[in-house]
């Protein structure tokens, strides 16, 4: 597969994530959209990782080239998990206090 396909696909997912962040008011959904963005990045990284691997593969059959990309994805998942735990805790805390997760109500701090 040409790498461009993956690039376009993940960029599309990434931008859908962004659009989601911009258009939704529910904090949880916004957070989910951010997760979507991260997954788009993951996909891109894996695709690049394979691409690099392929370039070297022809010369060196035993090459481990490209493995960094996949490890990076692994770390992103780790971090995402950590982030989710904290993020959801914050959202829950917010909900406990205001009974809403609407970000539009977050306007005590402004100007």
């Amino acid at each position: 597969m040409p790498i461009q396909y993956y690039i376009v696909l993940s960029l599309a997912l990434f931008c859908i994530g962004i659009v989601g962040v911009l258009t939704r008011r529910n904090a949880i959904i916004i957070f989910m959209c951010i997760e979507l963005m991260l997954n788009a990045v993951n996909l891109l990284l894996v695709a690049f990782s394979k691409m690099h691997h392929n370039t070297v593969l022809a010369a060196d059959k035993a090459t481990q080239a490209g493995i960094e990309g996949q490890l990076f994805v692994f770390f992103i998942m780790v971090v995402a998990a950590a982030e989710v735990s904290v993020g959801l805790a914050i959202i829950v805390m917010m909900f406990r206090n205001t009974h809403s997760v609407d970000v539009n109500f977050l306007n005590r701090l402004k100007n």
Binding site: M37, V41, L44, S49, H52, F72, E83, M94, N97, L109
Partner: protein, 460 residues
């Protein structure tokens, strides 16, 4: 490496100390002691006395600049703990945990001061920010604190996403995550599109971390909403860490971004200075004013990125000292005030002359008046930019015009303290607090007269 390991360890120590004791005072003392241990450990490392040697496989690269920066940050945090420790433990029930989180933040700072791989940059930033989300929201009953925390979290995660996309693009072109900090700076490579685009996205994410306009929006709200004592921490130590990460990446990579660097930086700088300085003018609350002021100061620190030379690094170090210490001092006084508005400071000079004096020194330093460290901080970063390219003079002039505007809101506090009548309400002041405050003021003035003491230590 010592600092990373020891700070993580000390973080755990603090976690467990919360189980062992419930006395807030002793928790604070443990924290101070732990911080001192961390500082000693790091100094031992920096002076080659004792090193924990781990094969880092090129993930980290400890150079003098990074080590020294870490020293300054740990030192500043120690001072912060001493002067504001009492307030930290007052925020909530989990005081030990707050300190633990602070130590983890320091781990992140240490990583950011020495990363050589974008993975470490990513991890460092996450280790730095996740505790901050928590600290921001630590005043759980306070809706403002909640709101700040959520805002910070959402926007922070968003910026992380942007940064990751940048890293991915960078990886797509280069095939690895090394940034090679030892590469000779400004040696342009034929970098095509992906690397510069990736760097651009990373730039944006880092700009978000250091609250450069137009990615600064989180700053005022978060700084305002967070418990004041943590605002102080965030606005100083964390911000400086953002800059070290920034300069570390672009020191060797700015040339890869091509011509855009020379147009992008001025635009960002001017926007940052404009937003920071101009918006601060109208603020009614000192705390929020300081939030905007921190944006404004970031605008000056960005000059170090225009320079990206030795002077710039020295300037950044000096700025770290000058800005951090002054801001910690101002916030520590703010914490004692009952009323955070400017009016709340009215007549402070009469009731608390020492506080007023120290506060004045800090404010003068922020405004960049000579004889205070802030002057040389500004001087060095601006000189760095001019050294790189004297045709940037116009930008320096613009920046200085904004510096003059900044005097407006800093001096509003001074005016309130000295020239207006009123009874400034302050909570109880301990003698030790005053002593520490004087120490901070003394540092500001000494560095303001002999800025080279900071570097002499660094170079020799």
């Amino acid at each position: 490496m010592n600092s990373i390991i020891v700070s993580a360890l000390m973080g755990m120590v603090m976690m467990f100390s919360g189980i062992v004791t419930n006395s807030k005072q002793s928790i604070k003392n443990i924290a101070i002691a732990a911080m001192a241990v961390l500082l000693v450990a790091h100094l031992a490392d920096a002076n080659d006395i004792f090193k924990i040697n781990i094969n880092v496989h090129g993930m980290l690269n400890f150079n003098r600049f990074g080590m020294y920066f870490t020293t300054l940050v740990i030192g500043a945090t120690l001072l912060y703990t001493i002067i504001s420790g009492d307030e930290v433990v007052k925020v909530g029930a989990n005081s030990a945990d707050y300190f633990a989180l602070i130590f983890f933040v320091l781990t992140g700072v240490s990583i950011l001061a020495s990363y050589n791989n974008l993975l470490m940059l990513f991890l460092g930033i996450e280790i730095l920010t996740i505790p901050l989300f928590v600290l921001t929201g630590s005043d759980k009953k306070n809706l403002k604190s909640n709101e700040a925390s959520l805002k910070y979290f959402l926007m922070g995660s968003f910026s992380t996403g942007i940064m990751l996309m940048g890293i991915a693009l960078y990886y797509g072109a280069s095939g690895n995550f090394n940034i090679d900090v030892n590469r000779v700076a400004n040696e342009p490579v034929n970098s095509g599109i992906l690397i510069p685009l990736g760097l651009l996205l990373m730039f944006i994410a880092l700009a978000f971390k250091v609250s450069a306009a137009p990615f600064h929006f989180w700053t005022p709200d978060v700084y305002d909403g967070a418990p004041t004592v943590f605002t102080s921490f965030m606005a100083t130590i964390v911000k400086a860490a953002g800059f070290i990460a920034f300069i570390r990446l672009f020191e060797s990579r700015s040339a890869d971004m091509g011509v855009s660097w020379t147009i992008l930086m001025p635009v960002i700088i001017i926007a940052t200075l404009l937003v920071g300085n101009v918006t601060a003018v109208f603020q009614q609350s000192v705390k929020r004013m300081l939030a905007y002021s921190s944006i404004a100061q970031a605008g000056f620190m960005l000059f170090a990125l225009v320079g990206l030379n030795d002077v710039a690094k020295e300037g950044l170090l000096l700025y770290t000292v000058a800005y951090s210490i002054a801001t910690i001092g101002i916030f520590s006084i703010l914490l004692k005030m009952k009323d955070y508005t400017f009016e709340g400071y009215n007549g402070l000079a009469k009731t608390q002359p020492l506080l007023a004096f120290a506060n004045t020194v800090f404010l003068l330093s922020l405004a960049g008046i000579p004889l205070t460290a802030g002057f040389f901080a500004k001087y060095y970063v601006l000189a760095a930019a001019l050294k790189q390219d004297t045709s940037i003079l116009w930008l320096v002039i613009v920046a200085l015009v904004f510096a003059a505007i900044s005097a407006y809101y800093y001096f509003k506090v001074i005016q309130a303290m000295y020239f207006k009548d009123g009874e400034a309400a302050v909570s109880e002041i301990k003698p030790s607090f005053k002593l520490t405050l004087l120490l901070l003021a003394a540092i500001i003035i000494i560095v303001g007269i002999f800025p080279t003491v900071v570097f002499n230590w660094f170079y020799f």
